[in-house]
Assembly symmetry: C2
Homo-oligomer: 257 residues x 2
């Protein structure tokens, strides 16, 4: 397939590379910043452009991988080409895009993608949705060329997935950083806690989280929790986070088992 990538961020970068590796041709990479477009375009042997007026109409698919609030205006510029167009957002619904480009869909990779970190794209869950069954089928076949985990997911489900991803990825990563801060205070290397972080994630690959829960809250060990809150007394934000998450764990333990 001939594919045009709109955007040069994390998702654009990984999708473009995955398509290229699967044998598709990347026609152009667009970014408002020509340098960013050029960098990605170089990697996937495409042309770089920084103006939507320079779009090459000889393409089969537009992939809009930009910030959510820029999707609509980009879509308006692409509408005249009447090509199959997808956005890649977890949070944006499909109906708005359909109202501008009827021939459209969604290709949402459920993974934390950073430009400087390679990822085996074949393992990345790809959530697809099409304006109609024919488009859905087409996107499904396309997605299967770059991933072994393709799921049909409607807009409501995709929003739930996106919210769940914030809880399962963005927030844990922030808490890793809080841990690093606490270790720094006692001159302890972050390295010490890395095996714990990895094992915690590995445990829930075969188990449900509720069955893997450990720590003072699930034991309702009030003394230890008191001591931890004492240690956090100069950091009211962290103290509140500690209290709320501990309460959640205690509540889960009562309901769950």
């Amino acid at each position: 397939m001939r594919i045009t990538i709109i955007g040069s961020g994390n998702v654009a970068t990984h999708l473009a590379a995955a398509f290229k590796n699967a044998g598709h041709r990347i026609v152009q990479v667009y970014s408002r910043d020509l340098q960013n477009a050029a960098l990605l375009a170089y990697h996937v042997k495409a042309d770089a452009i920084d103006g939507l007026k320079d779009i090459n109409p000889e393409t089969d698919l537009f992939v809009i991988a930009v910030k959510d609030d820029a999707i609509i205006s980009i879509a308006r510029s692409l509408a005249p080409f009447q090509k199959l167009t997808v956005h890649t957002s977890g949070a944006a619904d499909l109906n708005t895009l359909i109202s501008i480009i009827p021939n459209s869909g969604v290709l949402y990779p459920l993974q934390t993608l950073s430009k400087n970190k390679e990822v085996d794209f074949l393992t990345v869950p790809l959530c697809i949705e099409g304006a109609n069954e024919q488009i859905t089928l087409e996107l499904e076949q396309l997605a299967q060329t770059i991933s072994n985990n393709v799921y049909r997911i409607n807009s409501a489900q995709r929003k739930a997935l996106h919210l769940a991803a914030v809880f399962a990825c963005n927030f844990p990563n922030y808490l890793y950083d809080v841990a690093r801060q606490q270790l720094d205070k006692q001159n302890i290397d972050f390295e010490l806690i890395r095996p714990l972080i990895l094992e915690t994630a590995q445990k829930v690959q075969d188990n449900l989280p509720v069955d893997a829960q450990t720590g003072p809250a699930v034991r309702n060990d009030q003394n230890t929790m008191e001591m931890h809150l004492q240690m956090l007394q100069d950091e009211p934000g962290l103290k509140m986070i500690y209290e709320l998450l501990s309460q959640g764990i205690i509540k889960n333990a009562k309901v769950g088992h």
Copy 2:
């Protein structure tokens, strides 16, 4: 070494197995619940007891792996034997134990251990502390027979590690469960989000968390955060957790980069 295990929980189970595998002899396993003691004792070819009066004095080391608030009373019962004694707690300091048993120390495994999940103990960071340099050395050598990651860690550092472990392990695991709840509402299998959880933990094995942060908060994407809070409107506890953690990420992004 001849080792007596006091306790039959997660830490007791994994430590006993690791010692046994390394060629040490487990003399006895004590638990208030004889059935629990017997189960672990069977696995490590030891005798099971449920009364401290039945302790066999022919041992070299007592490992106290019980709830923090039971350590002191156990230590009082073991004091007359005048043997090397360690506790395995991240939160309990060493001085209290020394005041009861001068010949004592700490052996704290920094890992999330569940009875039903095997772990390669050689990779588990073991934090040791002794009442004096001779004991520290002895514990260091002992610890190195079961782990490749042995660290000398004082009581203040160990408390910081324990608090950090709550943020890096117990809280993320709870958030995985919150993600599962959100997916359940839309009949989405938890399986979809497992690769994301694993990749999030793998990313910080080579990077610092602050460099791996993704999601709406670090992009300061107010529209998406608003939408997520809307989706959580019937769950005030989760809404507050979402707000506090997002604020933390936004603050980090301002300070960090």
